[in-house]
Amino acid sequence: MAFVSSGYDPSKPMENRITDIGPRKYDEFYPPVIAKNKGKWLYHEILQPGVLVHVAESGDEVYTVRVGGARLMSTSLIREICEIADKHCGGYVRWTTRNNVEFMVADKAKVQPLIDDLSGRKFDGGSFKFPVGGTGAGVTNIVHTQGWIHCHTPATDASGPVKATMDVLFEDFQKMRLPAQVRVSLACCLNMCGAVHCSDIAILGYHRKPPMLDHEYLDKMCEIPLAIAACPTAAIKPAKVTLPDGKEVKSVAVNNDRCMFCGNCYTMCPSMPLADTEGDGIVLMVGGKVSNRISAPKFSKVVVAFLPNEAPRWPSTTSAIKKIIEAYSAGAKKYERVGEWAERIGWERFFEKCELEFTHHLIDDFRDPAYYTWRQTSQFKFTD
């Protein structure tokens, strides 16, 4: 493969350099019906799972067909999306905040052919390319992080557990039988690039072993003050270490009891890896939301302290999630989110209904806010 220059001259990086132009402007990419009716929409309706109509003051309608998809996506698949959008939607398409793809048409007659086209496309392995759904009181697509496909500190994979979970929850992606929407999210370590901390159900990767120390190489590979400064709990200090061959080297010591397993030291110092087959796994958190509807936004709470990484399909994780959703579906009132349901029935009842074991790891002991999570009333329920 011959090198093909873009026109960039490495010896003169500033020559003809264009910078600070930002993203493309949003309205370049509006379909005509959107451009015409922007700010003048009257109401919307979900005609069937995954299919919405928005009606404008002008009487114009836009029909949206929403499909799920992996956020890890090849250009081949994007080109196929383009082909569909050209065929049915005048060459426009959009993505949602939750990795769904939306195809829009302005004419009702075009809706069914679009749905048929999308639903009919499958990968060679048999899975749908463009499953229609993800609207209303159901489970929509999972927002997630990179995991083992690209991250250097993940405690679990992302795309794998997401695929496994969505396979198990698939029916609820295409139905709207739940009391309210259920937002599932995944972050592959506690740094939470995916900000999963306010999701109905959060799947969180978690390490449980402090970093290993590659003493022989540590001072050669890393700048020790930077590794020390990277630690959020000040658990790392400089140390002199004698190697098996008697040589004394500069290195670090980790106060293991203070380690919160964030991996920030590994980012600064590749001689401090912490990934571990047995140590790493999944924490399940439940009951968060970001909407201000009825009750204030809420944080998710830890309800399962640890589940092992069971590649490729994470059965313990997916079955725990399924149990939670079934208990919620059976017990919650219409419009009630998972967290609102848990608060109404009480968390003691939540554990009973979801058949989850309550363990000492689920009692908060991290800094000041922990105190306010302990029960400070004589009101509680008895459970079996």
Binding site: S74, T75, R293
Partner: protein, 438 residues
């Protein structure tokens, strides 16, 4: 025949949900065939090696990536994340596998013409694998080599009129909801504000001079579809301050069962006949609604605009006309001291071009304070916690109002300042002793 056997990943090809494994395999086969004679600038078998190293992670239960911090494009401190695999001999195609963040358009609307240009560029100069989209909102180009970073950037800026997004201690690529483009709940034009601020603050986005990351997110209404209140240092949430508009005929249509509640969101189960008392009036958090003479009444002064009634009856109830946004500060994910929601700073502000009031009275005073007082790697929310909400109001020259708090303080330990107390703190002990013996 695939380059690497992937028996574990193969098990993720079955099941109904779109399989990223199938997609990657198809992409690998397409590159190998190269029917279009693309002059690939990184190894042809990059996707095969990506599958191979991912399979190894599935086998080991551990990642095989290392971080790299040096690589980037000249003059920018963000937009590129350096990545190297720890098995380069076995998987040379992904030995360098850097990510590029490409700033996404507002609302994530695209023309197919633009998407194809992006694909052409990334097929030739990268792996052809993307994230649509990353958590912050950018288009993610997943995996290229160091020499290609400048080439991709040059082509993006020269041929696609397209810049990179943010990473590191920068303003991160701002993100918005679909807003007025296709949502009747939008109380301001999220895309217009997002685009304007993104362009106004390009220097802050590309050249890191902040203590840590800083995020703007724009939600058109309190439903918060982009989760701004949970994850943005400054979160702009649409709201209104006049009355919900009521169409009484449509209210009757909901009561009569002619229109499905909540836009039909609950049609997958038989929830029984719609009951406006139980489902709307009874669920109103402020109990500010009632039926009177067959009409729905709302005491709008008591309404906290939670959106529930509007969500349930979108054809009968509409957001008010005097619209703007509320601004919240300090949200962040848990690390370190626990997650924080955004706290209300500006209860209401009009959102009107050129947005000078938002820039000059909110964003810039907050940045000045944080840039001077923030410690290394301290998010705004942590500075607010360390120096106090009152301090932030002081630097913004904002008057405290009860809307700022959920409830007043629980302790009387008020740190009075000397100038707040009549007569100051300097007193004459001898004068005091005239009346109080030692």
């Amino acid at each position: 025949m695939a380059k690497h056997a992937t028996p574990l990943l193969d098990q993720l090809e079955s099941g109904p949900w779109p399989s990223f494994v199938s997609d990657l395999k198809a992409q690998a086969a397409k590159r190998a065939k190269n029917a279009e004679n693309i002059e690939f600038q990184i190894p042809t078998d990059v996707v095969e090696d990506l599958l191979g190293i991912l399979e190894l992670s599935f086998k080991h239960g551990r990642t095989h990536w290392k971080h790299g911090g040096i690589v980037g494009v000249f003059g920018y401190g963000g937009g590129v994340i350096g990545r190297y695999c720890d098995q380069p001999e076995e998987f040379p195609g992904v030995a360098h596998f850097h990510t590029m963040r490409v700033a996404q358009p507002g609302g994530k609307f695209y023309s197919t013409e633009y998407l194809r240009q992006i694909c052409d560029l990334w097929d030739m100069r990268g792996s052809g694998i993307t994230n649509m989209h990353g958590s912050t909102g950018d288009i993610i180009f997943l995996g290229t080599t160091t020499p290609q970073l400048e080439e991709v950037f040059f082509e993006l800026t020269h041929n696609l009129n397209q810049d990179l997004g943010g990473s590191g201690s920068n303003l991160r690529t701002p993100a918005d909801c679909i807003g007025e483009a296709r949502c009747e709940y939008a109380c301001y034009d999220t895309q217009a504000l997002c685009y304007d601020l993104t362009n106004e603050y390009q220097d802050e986005l590309h050249r890191p001079a902040f203590p840590y990351k800083f995020k703007f997110k724009f939600d058109g209404c309190p439903n918060c579809c982009v989760a701004s209140i949970a994850r943005a240092d400054l979160s702009f949430i649409g709201t209104w301050r006049d009355n919900i508009r009521i169409d009484q005929e449509a209210v009757q249509a909901y009561i009569g069962g002619e229109i499905a509640p909540n836009g039909g969101a609950h049609s997958g189960r038989d929830w029984g006949k719609f009951d406006i008392q139980a489902e709307v009036i009874g669920r109103c958090p402020t109990q500010c609604m009632w039926m009177e003479d067959g009409k729905l009444k709302i005491d709008d002064r008591e309404c906290t605009r939670c959106m529930h009634c509007i969500n349930v009856m979108p054809r009968a109830l509409r957001i008010g006309n005097d619209r703007g946004c509320s601004i919240f500060a300090g949200a962040k994910a848990p690390i370190l001291d626990g997650a924080q929601m955004g706290s209300l700073v500006v209860p209401f502000i009009k959102v009107e071009e050129p947005y000078s009031e938002i820039k000059e009275t909110v964003i810039e005073p907050i940045w000045d304070w944080w840039m001077e007082e923030g410690k290394n790697r301290e998010r705004l929310g942590e500075l607010m916690k360390r120096q106090g909400f009152q301090k932030m109001l002081e630097v913004m020259d904002l008057k405290p109002v009860p809307q700022h708090v959920q409830e007043p303080r629980h302790n009387p330990y008020i740190f009075w300042k000397e100038d707040e107390v009549d007569g100051g703190w300097e007193r004459d002990i001898n004068e005091f002793r005239k009346y109080h013996k030692r």
